[in-house]
Amino acid sequence: MSTEYNIEELIVHYLQEEITEEELRVLDDWLQQSSANKDFFFELKYIYDTKRYSEFLHGSEASWDRLYSLLKKDSMSGRSSGKRKAGLVFLLRYVAVAIIAILVGIGITRYTYEQKYVGGKGFYNEVIVDKGGKANTVLLSDGSIIVLNSSTKLRYPTNFDVSERVVQLDGEAYFEVAADKEKPFIVKLKKQQIRVLGTKFNIEAYSQESYTVTTLMSGSVSVQRLNDNGEPVDELLLQPDQKVIIDDVSGVVSLKNIDSSLSKSWIQGECKFKDETLWMITRRLGNHYGVAIHIEDSTLRNIRYTGTFQFAQGLREVLDVINYENQLTFNQTGDNIYIKRKSE
């Protein structure tokens, strides 16, 4: 510790952006000496930095104008223009306007919009997001918002029924349902239906899987199991920050209290999980990337992980991170990936 410099001066010099190299070396040294020093330094800096606050207090119109021209430029550039792809907005209008669905997405690998007629039941619309596609938002005219994950299909009628609002889901979606006590919102899955009044929740229900996961963020939903005639046979009321996993094959129902924000991290392109088994994690990865991941060794399947991935990292990198202790080997044939324990 140099006797020439006193720390007070150095800190002030640093804050005023007038510090010399020699001074900085001494200051840095002092900071590295203890976390109390660091705490103190950063606290002072925090206060000093607040002086800039007033500069930004009245956001300038000029700043908005600059952003606005970015938006204009972006919406006019065609699909072929490299990184910034245009977001196409499809606006659907019907004579008996019961639903207006606005579907937007960017950087989608492929999405399909179809209109079908199901005998006697009126028209319905189907939105399909392909595997590896990015989150897509559907806005319904009742104000409900549904964000679809990749490998997901959503069907909704052209006109909502008088008494209820019904949609069908195969895949994963995050819902923010507008409250309407007169018209419960129902999400139909293969073997269940989720009944809501007005609330935020996430459903993971890929039809190729035998399990469904429903996570409630706020509000309340009732998860009802259906018999082969599509009639509800029992129901489970979910509270906020609860998640239920139902295995359609074995009939096992597992109810957990969790941090519900983990379940919708995929909207931001993240896969977040806490204490989840490798088996569950690889199911989600498999569904997202459109591959089948097989784990033969049942002891491997039950290893639990906590962590976050960015889906954009790509499957290979994600698997490498899971394998950070280098215990696993991966073999890929076509769309199948086999995970085995590395032989000693």
Binding site: E8, V12, H13, Q16, E18, T20, L24, D28, L31, D39, F40, F42, E43, L44, K45, I47, D49, T50, K51, R52, Y53, E55, F56, H58, G59, S63, W64, L67, L70, L71, D74, S75, M76, A86, G87, L88, V89, F90, L91, L92, R93, V104, G105, I106, Y113, A135, T137, L139, I145, V147, E176, I267, Q268, D275, R304, Y305, T306, G307, T308, V321
Partner: protein
């Protein structure tokens, strides 16, 4: 009966809602970013994030979710920017960079975006209570952005004195505002990639 709208800006409802979101959050986000990157880059960073939100129509989602997302995105963009600056071979720049990155991890709380006004009021109140000489010097630096040299000649004292007063002021303010500061800093880094291997 599908009508394709190439220029989505024609939808007034969207733009209004988006602009409101921008007005309510961009200033704080730019203030936050300007702590770590220069002011022009700060605006670019924030605008990039808002552009993405516009493209994906995320602004239609709930406020609580969006604010969190905005904060995370700006924070990560700043981190990326700083990390890419690292290969400079200039001790001062590299060290300041490193300290900024550390600072981002410490001040990690989206609640930062809220109650900026209250925070400022608290700082002002605490400033009002500073001892006279101390306050005079501090205000010249804090409010009028004067450097130590200027303040020294203005008040007819030595630079040493000015610096000592500034330091004293900061120390006093820190004492007065400590509960406020700690509320916004997290010393336990959030779990971004943390693997717990539990058999």
């Amino acid at each position: 009966m599908v009508r394709r709208m190439k220029n989505q800006l024609e939808n007034d409802g969207f733009i209004t809602r988006f602009k409101t979101l921008y007005r309510e959050n961009a200033p704080m986000l730019m203030f936050y970013a300007s702590k770590y990157v220069d002011i022009v880059v700060a605006e670019d960073v924030v605008h990039d994030v808002f552009l993405k939100i516009w493209q994906r129509k995320d602004f239609l989602l709930s406020e609580e979710y969006i604010k969190n997302y905005l904060y995370r995105s700006v924070r990560n963009a700043c981190l990326d920017y700083l990390k890419h600056q690292e290969v400079e071979e200039n001790y001062v720049k590299d060290t300041i960079n490193r300290l900024k990155i550390e600072e981002i991890h410490r001040n990690d709380d989206p609640a930062f975006l809220y109650s900026g006004d209250e925070r400022m009021k608290s700082v002002r109140r605490a400033m009002d209570k500073l001892p006279a000489k101390c306050r005079e010097v501090f205000e010249l630096s804090y409010l009028e952005e004067k450097k130590s040299g200027e303040i020294a000649s203005l008040l007819g004292v030595s630079i040493r004195t000015v610096e000592a007063q500034l330091y004293k002021a900061l120390k006093i303010l820190r004492g007065a505002l400590l509960p406020l500061i700690l509320f916004f800093m997290e010393f336990i880094s959030k779990i971004f990639i943390l693997f717990v291997f539990i058999l």
